[in-house]
Amino acid sequence: MPLSPEQRRELRHWLGTIHDQELDCDQFSELLAEFVDGAIEDETVRKLMQIHADMCPECQEAHAILVKAIDS
């Protein structure tokens, strides 16, 4: 069974975009509330949060649902 188009896109993104420093999922979860509230003052950390959300579909989903849940 060959790679599906979606798998190919994910692999291109996953292997084509690599940062030396990336937050892991536990770190992202710990900072998620602050990120959503705009309370992270350190621009580097904010960028790292955005990078992780970009690279990790599961954490991106958590972020999107939290924003929807508290902003509705």
């Binding site: 069974m1 084509g16 999922c25 770190q27």
Partner: protein
Amino acid sequence: MAANDWEAALRGPDGPSRTASTVELAGFLRGTLARGFGNSLTESDLDDVVQETLLRIHNKLDSFSGRSRFTTWAASIAVNTALSELRRRQHEDTHLKDAIAAGEACLVAPEGPRAVARAQRERILSDAVDTQLTVLQRDAFAASLGGLPLPEIARRMGTSAGALYKLLHDARKRLRAHFDTLGLTMNDLLPAEED
């Protein structure tokens, strides 16, 4: 009791104030989850997730930094609790070894005369996975390709999502470094026009 007072009440001694704030917080969490997840969570799911979330909030209260709103922090725990349960349920019939096998099967190059060039490219990818990664990295990579979300892979491997992400981050760097030495970009290996 205002939402701002819930944190203080929860940190306080057992009593009417703490009980009242727990009840109010439960109501807040229920509404938050309903807004965030819509029909994905049944009434019974909401009950279970709220109870589990209250327990986690109680256990993690000392880790609340105060830099975010307490309500956002509590809601983030609820969302992650709900997602864990939904993912567990969605994939409960998928064995890790089957997901790994499905992912490995995807890396087998296609056959046929028209697919020769594509087969060669995808063989480079599969060879790199075989030679550059540790056994654990190969399994995690294949399981992810096989359709299991990272938190579910982590749970089955007996590790945390964070530790697994670090493992795969290292795997990505190894693969990327290998392709760099070959002078190949990901679009060389997996051209978008072939999707």
